[in-house]
C-alpha cells in the first residue's frame, strides 16, 4: 500500500462505496431517529451502530487488499469541481476507533438513556446527537476537501455542544454556551483560511492543493488562521477554557465521547492540513511552537489534575495533558530538508490519539459508574469503592496503566516511536517531555487509585446498585487500549522499521522493567509532592520521620501547584482566552514567515515560485 495519498486519483476505486455508506448510514440513523422518536429510538440507534461497526471493519479489510487509498468521487464529479472521499490508513484506523468507542458508549448509555413509555427529552437528544457525531467524524476522516471538512467540523460542534447541557442545569447550559462560542470562533478562523486557500489556488481538494501550495505570504496567513482555529476546537493549552466546565456537568457517556473522539476530529484535520496540504510550509519554528504548547499542556494539565477534588475533573484535566502529548510529533516528523514526513513520528502521534480515545473513554465511563452508585465523585470519599464496583475500578486502573505507556498498550508503542524519532532527529528535549508525560500520567492515576483502594471511612450509602453492563463496557474499552500495542499497525500506519518486538531474554526483561518502573516510581514521587492528600492517620506514628523529611520539598511543590492552579483560573477567562487566540494566530504567522524568509535566503533565484510538493 502506497503512502501517503499524494498521487492524483481521479477515479472511484472498487469498494469506494463503503466510504459513502460509512457516512450515510449514521446520517440516515439521525433522520429516522428524529421522526420515529419515542420508545424505539434506542433500538434504532443500536441497529445503526451495529451496521456502522461492520462498515468500519469492511473498510479496514478493503484497504488492506487495495494497493492505494480507497477513493469515491461524489456525484462522479472529479476534483477540483467535485468532492472526493478518500480513505488512507490513518482514516481507516480512526474510523475503526470511532466505531469501537461509540459502540461501547452506546452500550453504557443504554442504561442511562432508556426512553420511558412516552418520548422524553434526554434520550431523544442523546441518541440523535451520538449518531450525528459519528457521521460527522467519519466525514472528518474521509473528507478530501477543505470545505467538506468545514461542514464536518460544524456537524461535530452542533452535535457535541448540546451533549454538554443534557443535564439541563444552569451551570451546564453556561458550559455549553462557552463551548459553542469558542468552537464557533475556531470555525470562523478555519473558514477564513479555507477561503484564502481557494483564492490562492482555485481548489480546496487536499491532493490537488498538496501539489499547488507554495510558500507565499497569503498562504502563511491562511495556515496560521486555520491552525489556531483547529487548536481552539481541540482545546490545546492555552485555548482550553471550554473543556473543564464542559466535562464537569456532562453525563459520563457524553464526556467519554467529547474527550475520546470529538477533540480528535479537529486534531485529525490539523494533521491533514500540516502533513498533506502543506508539508513543506511549517518549518522548524512552527513545529517547535506547536510541540511547546503541547509540552506546556502536559505539565499544566497534569499538575492541575493532581489538585482536583472531583474524579471527573481529574480525568478532564488529564485530557488537557494528553491532548498536549498529541502535538509532540510535529517537530519529530520534520525532515532535514524542512518537510513534514509521514513516518514513524506521525504513526506515533496517531497511535497516541487512538490509545487516548479508548483509554480516556474507558476512564470516563468507569467514573460515571462510580458516580451513579455513590451519588458523588469526591476523591477523598472514594475509599472502599472497589468493593462495590470492582470492575469499574479495574477499568479505571487499566485505562490509566494504558495511558502511562506501559507494555503492551498503544501508548507504549506510541512513546517508543516518538522516542525513536526524537533520537534520530537529535531533539533530546522532546524525549524528556515524553518521559515526563508518562510520569505525570502515572502520578494522577496513582493518586486516584491510592484513594480508591484505601479502606472506606463510612459504609457506602448507595443510591442504586452498580450496573454490570456499564462497568463491562468501560472495562472492554480499557482492555482495548491496553492491548492496542499487539495489533499489526504496519498495514495502516507509516511504521518503517516495524514494531519494536517483544523478545524474551534477560536484557529485554531488565529493559522492560525499567520502562515500567520509571513512570510508576516517578509518578509516586510526583503524586506525593504535588497531590492533594488528607492529613495522615493519627494512629500511624511510624510515618512521622519520613514525612518530616518530605515536608519541606512538598511545601515547595504545593506552592508551585498553587501558582499553576491560579494561572489556570486566569487562562480560563474569556478576555484572556480571546487575546491568547489572536496572539497565537500572530505567532504561527510569524513562525511560518520566519521559515519563509530562511528558504528565500537559501534559494534567492527560485524563491518566489518554489514548489514544495
Amino acid at each position: 500500500m502506497s503512502y501517503p495519498a499524494t498521487v492524483l486519483d481521479a477515479v472511484t476505486t472498487t469498494r469506494g462505496f463503503l466510504l459513502v455508506l460509512s457516512i450515510i448510514v449514521p446520517v440516515a440513523g439521525v433522520l429516522l431517529a428524529f421522526v420515529v422518536g419515542g420508545r424505539h429510538i434506542e433500538r434504532l440507534a443500536f441497529a445503526t451502530i451495529l451496521f456502522g461497526l461492520a462498515i468500519a471493519a469492511a473498510i479496514l479489510v478493503a484497504l488492506q487488499q487495495s494497493d492505494g487509498p480507497l477513493v469515491y468521487l461524489l456525484g462522479a464529479w472529479a476534483p477540483p469541481l467535485g468532492v472526493a472521499l478518500r480513505a488512507d490508513g490513518l482514516s481507516a484506523v480512526m474510523m475503526m476507533v470511532a466505531a469501537v468507542v461509540i459502540s461501547a458508549v452506546g452500550v453504557f448509555a443504554g442504561a442511562d438513556f432508556r426512553p420511558a413509555a412516552a418520548e422524553s427529552r434526554a434520550p431523544f437528544a442523546f441518541w440523535i446527537l451520538l449518531l450525528g457525531i459519528w457521521a460527522a467524524l467519519n466525514i472528518v476522516f474521509l473528507g478530501g476537501d477543505l470545505f467538506t471538512l468545514y461542514v464536518a467540523l460544524e456537524l461535530v460542534t452542533f452535535a457535541a455542544v448540546p451533549l454538554v447541557s443534557l443535564d439541563g442545569r444552569a451551570e451546564t447550559l453556561q458550559a455549553a454556551l462557552r463551548y459553542l462560542l469558542f468552537a464557533l470562533t475556531g470555525s470562523v478562523l478555519y473558514l477564513l483560511g479555507t477561503t484564502l486557500f481557494y483564492g490562492l489556488y482555485g481548489t480546496l481538494d487536499i491532493v490537488l492543493l498538496s501539489h499547488r501550495v507554495r510558500a507565499q505570504p497569503a498562504t502563511l496567513v491562511a495556515a496560521a488562521l486555520m491552525t489556531t482555529g483547529l487548536l481552539a476546537k481541540t482545546a490545546l493549552f492555552p485555548l482550553y477554557l471550554w473543556l473543564p466546565p464542559a466535562h464537569a456537568g456532562a453525563p459520563a457517556a457524553a464526556s467519554a465521547i467529547l474527550s475520546g473522539l470529538v477533540v480528535k476530529g479537529s486534531f485529525f484535520i490539523l494533521v491533514r492540513l500540516w502533513f498533506q496540504v502543506m508539508p513543506g510550509l511549517p518549518g522548524f519554528a512552527a513545529t517547535q511552537l506547536l510541540a511547546a504548547l503541547g509540552g506546556a499542556a502536559i505539565v499544566f494539565g497534569s499538575v492541575v489534575a493532581l489538585r482536583q477534588e472531583r474524579l471527573k475533573l481529574v480525568i478532564a484535566y488529564s485530557t488537557l495533558a494528553q491532548i498536549g502529548y498529541l502535538f509532540l510529533m510535529f517537530p519529530l516528523a520534520l525532515s532535514a530538508s524542512g518537510q513534514l514526513e509521514s513516518g514513524g513520528a506521525l504513526a506515533g502521534g496517531l497511535l497516541q490519539a487512538v490509545s487516548h480515545a479508548t483509554a480516556k473513554a474507558a476512564m470516563f465511563l468507569a467514573a460515571g459508574s462510580i458516580y451513579a452508585v455513590l451519588g458523588q465523585d469526591r476523591i477523598a470519599g472514594l475509599g472502599g469503592v472497589w468493593r462495590a464496583l470492582p470492575i469499574a475500578v479495574l477499568a479505571f486502573a487499566l485505562g490509566g496503566v494504558a495511558l502511562m505507556g506501559i507494555q503492551p498498550s498503544g501508548a507504549y508503542l506510541a512513546k517508543e516511536l516518538l522516542l525513536q524519532a526524537a533520537a534520530e532527529k537529535g531533539q533530546w528535549w522532546w524525549a524528556v517531555v515524553l518521559q515526563a508525560g508518562g510520569i505525570f500520567t502515572a502520578a494522577y492515576v496513582l493518586l486516584v487509585l491510592a484513594h480508591v483502594l484505601a479502606p472506606a471511612k463510612a459504609p457506602i450509602a448507595s443510591d442504586r446498585p452498580a450496573l454490570r453492563i456499564q462497568e463491562t463496557a468501560a472495562l472492554a474499552l480499557a482492555l482495548c487500549s491496553l492491548l492496542l500495542g499487539l495489533l499489526p499497525w504496519e498495514a495502516y500506519l507509516p511504521i518503517a522499521q516495524g514494531i519494536p518486538s517483544y523478545r524474551l531474554g534477560p536484557e529485554a526483561v531488565s529493559k522492560t522493567l525499567s520502562k515500567v518502573l520509571l513512570p510508576i516510581l516517578g509518578g509516586t514521587v510526583v503524586a506525593t509532592l504535588l497531590g492533594r492528600w488528607g492529613p495522615p492517620p493519627a494512629h500511624i506514628t511510624s510515618w512521622k520521620p519520613p514525612l518530616a523529611v518530605v515536608d519541606p520539598i512538598r511545601r515547595i511543590g504545593l506552592a508551585l501547584g498553587d501558582l499553576i492552579e491560579r494561572s489556570d483560573g486566569f487562562l480560563r477567562q474569556w478576555p484572556v482566552a480571546g487575546v491568547t487566540l489572536l496572539v497565537l494566530v500572530l505567532l504561527f504567522g510569524g513562525c511560518n514567515a520566519d521559515g519563509l524568509v530562511m528558504r528565500m535566503q537559501a534559494r534567492p533565484a527560485s524563491g518566489r515560485h518554489q514548489l514544495f510538493a
Binding site: I24, L74, W77, P80, R121, P162, S165, G202, V579
Partner: protein, 315 residues
C-alpha cells in the same frame, strides 16, 4: 470619479462605521441595532460585487432572521445588563485585545491584497458543466450537483441545531409548543401587516426558489423568506407554533436531507454514483429535492427563532 464609485465609497464607509459602532457600543441593544443595520447594508456590497446569491442569503439570514434573534436576546438580557457591565475587563486587557485584533486584521488584509489577480477560479468549469443538470444558475449547480454532499450535510447541521435548541426545553414541556404564545391587538397595525404581507411574501419566496434554477435565488433564500412570513403570523398572534412532538412536523423537518439522500442513493441504483443525476432527468430531480429543502429550511429557521418547547401541547 463616477457616481457609482462615490456611492460605493459611501456604502463602504457606512458599513465600516456600523461595524465600529457595533464593537464600541456599550449597551447590548444599541450594539444589536448597529449589527442589524450592518447586516442589511452588507448585501448591497455583495450586489455591487455581482454576488447576488450571496446578497440574498446575507439579507435574509444576517439582516433578517439573525436580527430577530439578536433583538429578542437583547431584550431578554436587559435585566442582567448591569451585572455584565461590571465584568468588563480592565484597560490593559482591552488594549491588548485591540492591538492583537488590529495586527490580525492587518495580516488578513495583506493576505487578501496579495491574492493572485486574476484569481484562479472554478467558475468557467462550473459554467461549462452546466449541461449535465440543465440548470443555468452556476451557483445552484455547485450547490446541487458538484458539491451536493456539502449541501446535504448542511441540512443535517440545521436538523442538529433544532435538536440542540429543543434539548434546552424542560422535561415537562418536552414535545410542547416552542416559544411563548404571542399576543397582539387583533385590530392593530402589526396584525394588519401580518395579514397583508404573507400572501405577497409567500409568492416572492416561492419565486425566489423557483427562479434559482436559472437566475440568482434558490432554496435557502426562498426558504428564509417563507420562514419570515411564518414568523410574522406567529408573532402577531394569528397562529401558534406547532407542537414539537407532531409527526408531520418532524417529517417536514427531515424532508430536505431525506429526499436528498434518497435521490443520491437513486443515483447509485441507476448505476451512476452517489449524488449523481441521470442527465435526462437531472432538472426535475434537483427541483424535487429543492421543493423538499425549501419546506425544511422554512420550518427549521422559523422554529430556530421560536426557541425551545415551552408549553404543553394541550394549551
Amino acid at each position: 470619479m463616477t457616481v457609482a464609485t462615490i456611492l460605493e465609497m459611501v456604502l463602504g464607509a457606512v458599513v465600516l462605521g456600523l461595524g465600529a459602532w457595533t464593537i464600541a457600543a456599550r449597551e447590548t441593544f444599541a450594539a444589536t441595532v448597529g449589527y442589524v443595520a450592518y447586516g442589511l447594508l452588507v448585501p448591497l456590497i455583495w450586489v455591487r460585487l455581482d454576488a447576488v446569491d450571496v446578497a440574498l442569503t446575507e439579507a435574509a439570514i444576517g439582516g433578517g432572521l439573525g436580527g430577530v434573534l439578536l433583538l429578542g436576546a437583547a431584550a431578554r438580557l436587559r435585566a442582567s445588563e448591569p451585572a455584565a457591565a461590571a465584568e468588563t475587563p480592565g484597560k490593559i486587557v482591552r488594549l491588548g485585545a485591540a492591538g492583537a485584533s488590529v495586527m490580525v486584521a492587518a495580516a488578513l488584509s495583506a493576505a487578501v491584497l496579495l491574492l493572485p489577480d486574476p484569481a484562479p477560479t472554478l467558475a468557467p468549469a462550473a459554467i461549462a458543466n452546466a449541461s449535465a443538470t440543465g440548470l443555468a444558475n452556476p451557483v445552484t449547480n455547485v450547490l446541487m450537483a458538484f458539491r451536493a454532499m456539502d449541501t446535504m450535510l448542511e441540512k443535517v447541521v440545521l436538523l442538529l441545531a433544532i435538536v440542540g435548541v429543543w434539548s434546552l426545553a424542560s422535561d415537562q414541556a418536552w414535545g410542547g409548543r416552542p416559544g411563548p404564545r404571542h399576543q397582539a391587538d387583533p385590530h392593530g397595525v402589526f396584525a394588519f401587516l401580518a395579514r397583508l404581507l404573507p400572501p405577497v411574501g409567500i409568492v416572492v419566496g416561492i419565486y425566489m426558489f423557483w427562479t434559482g434554477a436559472d437566475h440568482p435565488g434558490g432554496a435557502f433564500q426562498g426558504g428564509s423568506m417563507l420562514a419570515a412570513m411564518w414568523l410574522l403570523v406567529i408573532m402577531a398572534g394569528l397562529t401558534d407554533t406547532p407542537p414539537a412532538s407532531g409527526r408531520w412536523l418532524r417529517l417536514v423537518l427531515i424532508a430536505g436531507p431525506g429526499v436528498f439522500l434518497a435521490v443520491g442513493l437513486g443515483g447509485v441504483c441507476f448505476g451512476l454514483a452517489f449524488l449523481a443525476y441521470p442527465p435526462t432527468n437531472a432538472k426535475p430531480l434537483i427541483l424535487g429535492i429543492e421543493v423538499a429543502m425549501v419546506l425544511t429550511i422554512a420550518v427549521t429557521l422559523g422554529l430556530l427563532v421560536a426557541g425551545a418547547p415551552e408549553r404543553s401541547p394541550q394549551r
